[in-house]
């Protein structure tokens, strides 16, 4: 066996003066970091991913985890990660797997955009005293409304009345513009999904199934669930399509544009096998392309097929990863009968992706929203299709900025998992998530109580919703329609001229 040359990333220490040898840490750590030897706890630091489960559960606060202070010769080009990756690949000969979001030190454009607020000439609006409307409809909108004039008899007099002739296509009604992103059953535990489902129902919003099908336990929440059709078509049948409130075709994912997904066979338990409609223990592979989609026309056909299959009662979304050509693709999607385009930026999370993809492929969501919104406007299509943005939304201000740049609503993925306790340790693909989120091991899954999980996620959505209302009020706006695409209320700080141009915003001071 070729040994690893990479020293442990973290250093785990158990303070013997505090430890009472309860062995809780040895039970809680699914990675096997801790072991009792005689009258002390031994820790194998090289197994630690800083998931903090042991730290959080230790009754004596006896455990500390620090970055391992082993010195490497500093070098501006050959940084530690570059060298560690080479050691690992020289050991295994494999593609490096990674979880969570892009870990490169690229600019976070959200943090280089600041918001406007009212002072004197127009009043701020106090959301505690005045109505603040966050309700958002996602779906197809008519280019214009048409009226017809009909004669009616009122009090014995014949009068003409204007009546609406236009029929509005089915839309999703969101009480807050925050939805929970598609993360599959398989990648996540059933209890994680149940937590999300209960939370979105309470908050009047929606969650995505991901490509893992819809477990029966989620049926009571189906009115708040968007089902996904990915290239693997796992779990897709008429019942599945009809159950959800909307359907999303997944073409790409922000963390790994251009490649598909892979759920290892060991994660395909009996429950997952039944939900995904694949044999137990078999690898679930979704290829990069849908094998019936090799052109935009093929995509349009699938959109229409899904609409036919659901009697034109369900909105159909199309999700693409944010890439250079996203605006042109979005125009194609907008003209395909699709109701919304979902754009997933390159800081989007993932259960498992080749590290080389996660860190190097795709473009920032901020740029993608701005470019897609602008292009759809230039084509006169923006009003007819909704834009949902995802990939690296961390707080209410990010939601607000995404909408001001042009989105209708956002999906949150990692943020919702963090609400459940996720530490972004990035090892979701191992299936050993100690918090019961990204795992199928029954003993780990049961650590996540869906009622508690739902409370935490609902609290997060509600807290952000309150903050969005406050931000709207400060901007003198009392309805989210007036924020959408309102780039006048944004300014850039520390951005160059070209970045400002793509974002469609002015520099602070202008």
């Amino acid at each position: 066996m070729i040994p690893s040359y990479v020293p442990p990333k973290y250093k785990v220490e158990v303070d013997p003066n505090k430890c009472m040898l309860c062995e809780r840490c040895t039970i809680e750590c699914s990675w096997g970091v801790h072991r009792r030897e005689g009258d002390r706890i031994i820790s194998y630091s090289n197994r630690c991913g800083a998931c903090h489960r042991c730290v959080a559960m230790c009754p004596r606060d006896a455990i500390t985890i620090k970055e391992n202070a082993v010195s490497w010769r500093s070098h501006p080009l050959w940084d530690i990660d570059a060298r560690a990756d080479i050691y690992n690949q020289a050991k295994t000969g494999c593609i490096l797997l990674s979880g969570m979001a892009n870990a490169k030190d690229h600019p976070i454009y959200f943090d280089k955009i600041v918001l406007d607020a009212c002072q004197v000439t127009n009043p701020s609006i106090d959301p505690l005293r005045e109505p603040m409307e966050l309700r958002t409809y996602i779906g197809k909108k008519p280019k214009q409304l048409e009226f017809e004039f009909v004669e009616e008899e009122i009090d014995g007099k014949k009068i003409k009345k204007a009546k609406l002739k236009t029929k509005i296509a089915p839309n999703l009604k969101l009480d807050t513009p925050i939805m929970i992103a598609h993360m599959s059953y398989g990648a996540l535990s059933l209890n994680a999904h149940l937590s999300f489902a209960k939370a979105v129902k309470e908050c009047g919003t929606f969650m995505g199934t991901g490509e893992g099908g819809l477990p029966k336990a989620l049926y009571p929440y189906a009115d708040h669930i968007i089902t996904q059709v990915a290239s693997g078509r796992f779990g897709v049948n008429e019942e599945y399509l009809m159950k959800g409130a909307a359907i999303e075709i997944k073409i790409g994912q922000g963390a790994k544009p251009g490649i598909g997904g892979h759920l290892p066979g060991e994660k395909v338990t009996a429950e997952i096998s039944a939900t995904r409609m694949i044999p137990e223990g078999s690898d679930a592979i979704s290829p990069a392309p849908h094998h019936d989609i090799y052109s935009i026309e093929d995509l349009a056909q699938l959109v229409r097929s899904l609409k036919e299959a659901t009697r034109w009662k369900k909105p159909v979304f199309v999700k693409i990863a944010a890439v250079h050509n996203a605006p042109a693709i979005a125009v194609g999607i907008a003209t395909s009968d699709a109701d919304a385009v979902v754009i997933d930026g390159y800081k989007g999370g993932t259960g498992a992706a080749p590290k080389v993809f996660r860190d190097h492929v795709g473009i920032p969501i901020e740029m993608a929203i701005a470019a897609v919104d602008q292009r759809l406007r230039e084509e006169g299509l923006r009003n007819e299709i909704s834009i949902i943005a995802s990939g690296g939304i961390r707080c209410a201000a990010d939601v607000f900025k995404a909408i001001a740049l042009g989105a209708d609503a956002v999906y949150i993925g990692t943020a919702a998992m963090v609400a459940l306790g996720c530490r972004v340790c990035g090892r979701c693909y191992t299936g050993l998530c100690a918090w019961g989120i990204a795992t199928q091991r029954p003993e780990l899954v049961k650590r996540l109580d869906p009622e508690v999980g739902a409370r935490r996620v609902a609290n997060l959505i509600k807290a952000w919703t309150h903050e969005i209302k406050e931000l709207l009020g400060a901007a003198g706006i009392n309805s989210i329609e007036s924020l959408r695409g309102n780039r006048d209320r944004l300014r850039g700080v520390g951005l160059n001229e070209k970045e400002l141009e793509v974002l469609g915003i002015k520099l602070a001071g202008e």
Binding site: F147, F149, K160, G380, S482, L483, G485, N486, D488
Partner: protein, 362 residues
């Protein structure tokens, strides 16, 4: 701040412009001398009544003649200039940074089926492409007169008392979002729509990008301009009945919509879904002159000129309405109305977001 005043004779009696100037003068406290303006409907009743009256501001610089030729080149592409002249002004009152010019104009017959669209195209082309010239009104039998100055100065400068109209709107400006300049003063006009506004449109970025999708270009550097374009889009292009178009500008709250009977609920939901980008946010009280009447109980779209007033949904700016015989008034303050009509039959404060619509008597 900003003061607005408008009145209309529902008998279409002609009223001299000195009345509106007097009324606006009592609102001077709401402005700061950095912009005043008037629009009169029915002011060109003789041989130019059926011509489009383009009022155009041209920079008063040595390039004046060159700019004027560029303007005329645009106009001549689509029709005939029947007559043109400098709008008569009084010297020595305000600094004449712009020269106001008017063209009475006929669109070529070959554009007969889309005559008004052609006029809109002309306005957009001049405002966008001709450096140093801006169209400030483009309707028939009406005209906008505006400049940087106090209400009485601008009225005197343009000799407003020499004009007679059956409807007048006026504005005293206190600029807060862009610098004061002649084109940025109110009213803002397109075709027969004229808008005066007190407030700030916090949704301007959304509204601007919404109308841009339909070919309008906001070039006058003031948020109110977009209101004129939204009205043209909704009421002329999309033929939305006026009451519903106004509901797009200041929609009912979702709480109210949810309680409506089904048909009405669907209608108001559809308005918010289709025209969310047209919704005006922030504090506003607007008064608008329009060519279309409202659909109420008699159903047909009236072609007569109409005036309406509308505030934002939580009424962050004042708006007062009043009536006396055939006259209907809308203003920021009752005192401005009483200055020209002390004895009123009725004075009321419209509810937040609820329009006051006045049309001529049959």
């Amino acid at each position: 701040m900003c003061g607005i005043i408008g009145f209309m004779s529902r008998k279409k009696r002609m009223i001299k412009g000195d009345k509106i100037a007097l009324a606006l003068d009592s609102l001077k406290e709401r402005g700061n001398g950095k912009g005043s303006g008037y629009v009169g409907y029915g002011i060109y009743p003789t041989k130019y009544k059926d011509c489009y009256a383009f009022h155009i501001l041209i920079d008063n610089t040595p390039k004046f003649e060159k700019i004027k030729v560029e303007v005329e080149n645009v106009l001549e592409q689509y029709g005939t200039i029947v007559k043109d002249e400098e709008i008569p002004t009084e010297d020595g009152i305000i600094e004449k940074t712009q020269i106001p010019w008017r063209y009475f104009y006929e669109v070529d017959e070959k554009y007969a089926d889309r005559e008004e669209d052609v006029v809109v195209d002309i306005v957009m082309e001049i405002n966008d492409k001709v450096d140093g010239a801006f169209v400030i009104s483009s309707g028939k039998d009406l005209g906008v007169f505006k400049a940087v100055g106090w209400p009485n100065e601008v009225a005197e400068f343009y000799r407003i008392d020499k004009y007679e109209g059956y409807m007048w709107l006026a504005h005293a400006r206190y600029p807060t979002n862009t610098k004061a300049w002649w084109g940025g003063a109110h009213p803002f006009n397109l075709l027969n729509w004229s808008v005066v506004h007190n407030g700030e449109i916090t949704s301007y970025g959304t509204n601007k990008r919404f109308v841009e999708m339909f070919g309008y270009k906001c070039r006058l550097l003031t948020d109110t301009e977009v209101v004129a374009y939204i009205l043209d889009l909704l009421m002329r292009k999309h033929k939305i009945p006026v009451e519903y178009a106004l509901s797009a500008l200041a929609p009912r709250f979702w709480d109210e919509i949810d309680k409506m009977p089904e048909e009405e609920r669907e209608l108001h939901t559809a308005i918010r879904l289709a025209y969310g980008g047209a919704m005006l946010n922030g504090p506003f009280a607007i008064a608008v002159g329009t060519p279309h009447g409202l659909i109420f109980m008699n159903g047909d779209i009236e072609k007569d000129t109409t005036m309406f007033g509308l505030t934002d949904r939580i009424k962050l700016r004042p708006l007062i309405a009043a009536e006396k015989d055939d006259m209907i008034f809308i203003s920021s303050e009752e005192s401005a109305i009483r200055r020209i009509c002390p004895d009123l039959d009725r004075v009321w404060m419209p509810d937040a977001g609820m329009p006051v619509i006045a049309r001529p008597w049959k």
